[in-house]
């Protein structure tokens, strides 16, 4: 692996070997994900109670920033290897982003996914539920109302005289991107086509 730098002098009184740095170099994205997760949980339970999204973004900043600081430290010890240092920074930031994206979707699924809610409802009844029994607990009306409340609450749409209109374009842009990706990858616009 590429030579990280001169570690003959201890850092903050701790001896750091090149092997340790090489391993941390490979796993720093995982450490960043851990920092991201801890930050997200603590911030949501304390200062950011009203916004799950803000706690997720704060976690991302902490995780991504930790990788950046790590490579700033590496660079300070080995200025001649700046090309490789930069390449590793980029690679690990991409790995962290991919891990964070999976983490973000995991939280999002817990918050909004129908499948997870359906499974939680079934989990509460080990003997099972018939279709009509299930609909009494969770149904399309509740699904649509929750999403409507979310879209109205975030200002994506607004309501006037019992009719709905578009307001901010963010969700619309996402909807269009997803629609076109479905056409490219699956050859259809909807799961019902």
């Amino acid at each position: 692996m590429f030579f990280i730098g001169n570690y003959s002098k201890p850092v903050w009184g701790v001896e750091i070997t090149s092997n340790a740095i090489a391993v941390l170099n490979v796993l720093c994205a995982v450490v960043a994900l851990f920092l991201n997760t801890v930050t997200q949980i603590i911030s949501y339970r304390t200062i950011l109670r009203s916004s799950l999204l803000k706690s997720i973004l704060l976690g991302f900043l902490v995780g991504s920033g930790s990788i950046f600081l790590f490579y700033l430290f590496i660079f300070s010890r080995n200025k001649s290897g700046y090309v490789e240092t930069f390449a590793l920074l980029v690679a690990n930031e991409i790995i962290f982003f991919a891990l964070w994206y999976c983490f973000f979707n995991f939280i999002n699924m817990g918050e909004t996914a129908r499948r997870i809610r359906i499974m939680r409802e079934l989990q509460a009844f080990p003997e099972g539920l018939t279709y009509p029994e299930f609909l009494q607990r969770y149904n399309a009306r509740e699904m649509v109302q929750r999403r409507l409340d979310r879209l109205l609450g975030t200002g994506q749409i607004f309501e006037r005289e019992e009719r709905l209109f578009l307001n901010k374009p963010i969700v619309l842009i996402i909807a269009e991107v997803v629609k076109w990706m479905k056409i490219i990858v699956m050859g259809k616009k909807s799961e019902f086509d």
Partner: protein, 174 residues
């Protein structure tokens, strides 16, 4: 540089093979097929990684042959990127009600979409039944004697989400 080069190459190859297979025949269990494809591609690529030395990159940096940590880093990069794509694919595979609702509102333009039309069009047969059928197809639930019952596989899967929601002290979602 090796991680970026080989990791991205593997990811791009995976994506093209995936598109090719999907154009020939859309698999019934698409997510499972994607996972299998990721593993198969990593084995297929291994002999080509060993001993690779792209000459154009050698002019930029000193190119040593791949060591164990390099292989680990490259495959870790590839697996994580592939996992991200599979998670994204999950969003493509199922129609998100929020996105469907937004597109429906957009279609009406300045006229606006009546709320009761939305509730009428997005009923239980559209939003609930297909998801229950998905659970049965993915063996996370069974349909027995007229009842939907969660399997052990389903219980284990949902337990991660329940645990994290408890950590956050959050309510039941949906």
């Amino acid at each position: 540089m090796k991680t970026l080069f080989f990791g991205n190459l593997l990811a791009i190859l995976f994506f093209f093979v995936h598109l090719l297979i999907w154009k020939i025949h859309l698999p019934r269990r698409q997510i499972k097929t994607l996972f299998i494809l990721v593993i198969v591609m990593s084995f297929v690529a291994f002999p080509f990684l060993n001993g690779s030395k792209p000459s154009f990159l050698s002019t930029v940096i000193e190119w040593e042959s791949l060591k164990a940590l390099d292989y680990f880093h490259i495959y870790f990069y590839y697996y994580v990127i592939s996992l991200m794509y599979i998670v994204f694919y999950g969003a493509l595979y199922v129609d998100s009600p929020s996105l469907v609702m937004t597109l429906r509102v957009r279609e009406t333009g300045n006229v606006g979409l009546p709320k009761d039309v939305l509730f009428k069009d997005l009923g239980d047969e559209v939003l609930v039944k297909p998801r229950l059928d998905d659970l049965v197809r993915d063996k996370q639930a069974i349909f027995s004697e007229g009842k939907y019952i969660l399997t052990n596989k389903g219980r284990i899967f949902v337990s991660f989400f329940v645990f994290y929601r408890k950590l956050l002290k959050a309510s039941m979602g949906g």
